[in-house]
Amino acid sequence: MSAPFKTAGLLKNLMAKYYAKGEENRKSGIPVAWVTAVFPVEIIYAMDIFPYYPENFGALGAARKVADKLSEYAERRGYFNDLCGYARCGIGDAYATDHPVGNILPPDLLVCCNTQCGSLPKWFEAAGRYYNAPYFLLDSPLIEDQVSPLGKNYFIDQLWEMVDFLERTTGKKFEMERLVEVLKLASEATQLWNDCLDTAALKPAPFGFFDACFHMAPIVTWRGTQTAVDYYMALKEELDERVAKGITAIPNERFKIYFDHIPVWPRLRWFSDLFAANDALVVASQYTHSWAHKFDVSRPMESLAEVYTEQFVNRGFEYRIKLKMDFMKRYKCDGFVLFSNRSCKPNSFGLYDKRQVITERTGKPGVVFEADMSDQRFFSEGQIQIRLEAFFERLRKDQ
């Protein structure tokens, strides 16, 4: 990872404030809604409801290396350790007697979009029962091939059903003008985020995927607010400064790598060190690019439906291959690493074939490794290191 960013301090403060705000808000009568990462949160912000991201809580537990501890509480209730690690963290914390990353914030209501996966709705269903809070699912059928009006219209219908649900359960009013304002702010922030990500294409680059994993919290949680815009403005400025001064993400950048998908949170440092030691910088991932979209504020609901249903997480096999190849081209990658993440079936199933196809079509070497994004019980360091070393060896040979 790069030398510490000035904005890192800012981020830490912001996140601390965000976590503190949850309880405060509830006390002052602002409802807390659990939401999912790829979800039209813009509507939630437009209605002055507080969005809380239980996935973030899971990632935090994972990064602090306590996911397995929290998971054990869930496992005692009969949840198996092969479920999504975020869900296990969240469910585990609800039943836990000690809270190494603080308490997960109980919801007043839960709104879930299944564009990402089927784990989130199952987790939210269970949480809705546990917290006795109303639950709403925004259903987004897979776009296997072509975008069709069928799925989009279904989603738009549901956005209105959701507005109705939110008004009924919270007593708050939805106003289109407010949504338009929020969408503008969201577009601004996502655009800035995109610019930051793009600096990874420079050679040598001031910023890479592991940095992006750290700096992405605000684009997930605060897109739609001025806070996110300010944050990415500051980050962009700092990156420009780094470019001017010649500060690079790793000391000797020789290779650029595409990485799929989520990082192994408790081993983020280990991975970034290993890549750096091999003069390889991970420069792109579909994961960090998930929030680099733009809204058309002249058609708010349609635009929300398009952005959230046409995300790669809701796409079929071929689209995902093409997306990875596009990233590899845009960021001039020399090879790719695919993470078969035991926690995340939707992003892992199909990777074995994709690895082969991408190498056939691009001629670039790629590797698949097995682990879990949060749970270190499934991390076998030696095996992964051998795989990656062999991959780096290939890169050196190819160059």
């Binding site: 949840y79 199952k122 269970a126 096999f317 074939d353």
Partner: protein, 377 residues
């Protein structure tokens, strides 16, 4: 036909699941396979094609491992295995439903690794309580209908679809009658046999299957045994696999009289009421199916439904039979168990796989469970 002969027919169909489909194929009929669960077979039938269930394999899985992680459920690994080892080469098409993330991703792998001429997915809505679900589902069924027409070269008329719906309704009706019969006369045919008859419907010609079940019911009408003292159990889960698990339950002194399995009660589900638009009628049937692990309904919650089912069937215990790595079941389990406990229904969870499972441990636990309820053998 005598009862034994009839049962032998069903057993044969399940032992050679693709025999009838292959025969049809040789006779020039198109054959479309479907994976569990909920694929509207009526549409396939109405297109003049033969629908056949692809339900995994109890044989060793190894070819699939190159394409699908071993931490996918053995049901889907087994389906893919059969595609890869050539067992499904006779298919003109396959429809893979979106039941969970595994089936959602399997479509792409299937397209890449296999050359089945027509591959589609059935994207059922994942919520069923709001008006949008019905509108969408009608559109989705229309899409499937179009694609099936292209695949078979035959237009699916409303009349043909209504006829097919009648064929399937008739089949569901006789299956439900058999199910009810078995619930009161548990000693006549075994639990495994009951479920074999249901499963056979997924492989046989529907009309022929209906006739055979009717004959069976006629034969059974003369026999009644209300004096079975064995423990009455319900099963909840996806599939009754491996099949020996049902034998084991009976050997240990219990019988299965209720379930919510995909290869059980869910298959017999509600009839299609086809007075008006048949596609709308198919949509309504889908929305009214019994709850399952895929998604919960806020108006008809699964665990409440299970308690009710168990109580109505007068069972003494509930067996949660879950396939290893099946996420939907695992997410539901804690709350289902709590609901059972609250209702005073003893329950146990067994985790199985299609193949290579040693059932030794399951036997020990089941034995203790059944003995606790006063049964033994």
């Amino acid at each position: 036909m005598a009862i034994e002969q009839l049962l032998a027919r069903f057993n044969a169909a399940v032992a050679e699941p693709y025999a009838e489909a292959k025969k049809r194929k040789e006779q020039g009929q198109k054959v479309i396979g479907w994976l569990p669960t909920d694929v509207p077979e009526e549409l396939i039938h109405a297109a003049g094609a033969f629908p056949v269930g692809v339900l995994g394999t109890n044989e060793h899985i190894y070819l699939a491992d190159a394409h699908l992680q071993t931490w996918a459920c053995s049901l889907m690994r087994g389906c893919l295995e059969q595609g890869l080892n050539g067992n499904l080469d006779f298919l003109d098409g396959i429809i893979i439903p979106h039941t969970c993330d595994t089936t959602r991703m399997l479509v792409g792998i299937w397209r890449h690794a296999l050359s089945t001429p027509y591959i589609d997915n059935y994207l059922m809505p994942r919520q069923i309580d709001r008006p949008s679900a019905r509108t969408y589902l009608k559109g989705e069924l229309a899409r499937l209908k179009d694609n099936l027409e292209k695949c078979t070269g035959k237009v699916i008329t409303n009349e043909a679809l209504k006829d097919s719906i009648n064929v399937f309704n008739a089949n569901r009706t006789v299956l439900r009658r058999l199910y009810e019969y078995h619930s009161t006369n548990t000693a006549v045919i075994s639990s495994r046999m009951l479920y074999t008859v249901i499963k056979a419907a997924m492989f046989m010609d529907k009309a022929e299957h209906t006739t055979l079940v009717e004959e069976l019911l006629k034969e059974l009408a003369n026999i009644s045994t209300s004096n079975d003292k064995r423990v009455r159990l319900a099963i909840s889960g996806g599939v009754w696999e491996p099949p020996e698990i049902l034998d084991m339950i009976e050997e240990l002194g219990a019988v299965v009289v209720a379930d919510d399995l995909l290869t059980g009660a869910r298959y017999m589900g509600p009839d299609v009421i086809a007075d008006g638009d048949p596609l709308d009628a198919l949509a309504v049937r889908q929305l009214n199916r019994i709850p399952f692990g895929g998604f919960d309904s806020t108006t008809r919650e699964r665990r409440g439904f299970l308690v009710e089912t168990a109580q109505n069937a007068g069972v003494q215990g509930m067996v949660f039979l879950h396939l290893k790595f099946c996420e939907p079941e695992n997410y539901d389990y804690n709350d289902m168990r709590e609901a059972m406990n609250k209702a005073g229904i003893p329950n146990i969870r067994l985790e199985t796989e299609y193949a290579n499972t040693s059932l030794g441990q399951a036997r020990t636990r089941l034995q203790a469970f059944i003995e606790m309820m006063g049964g033994s053998k």
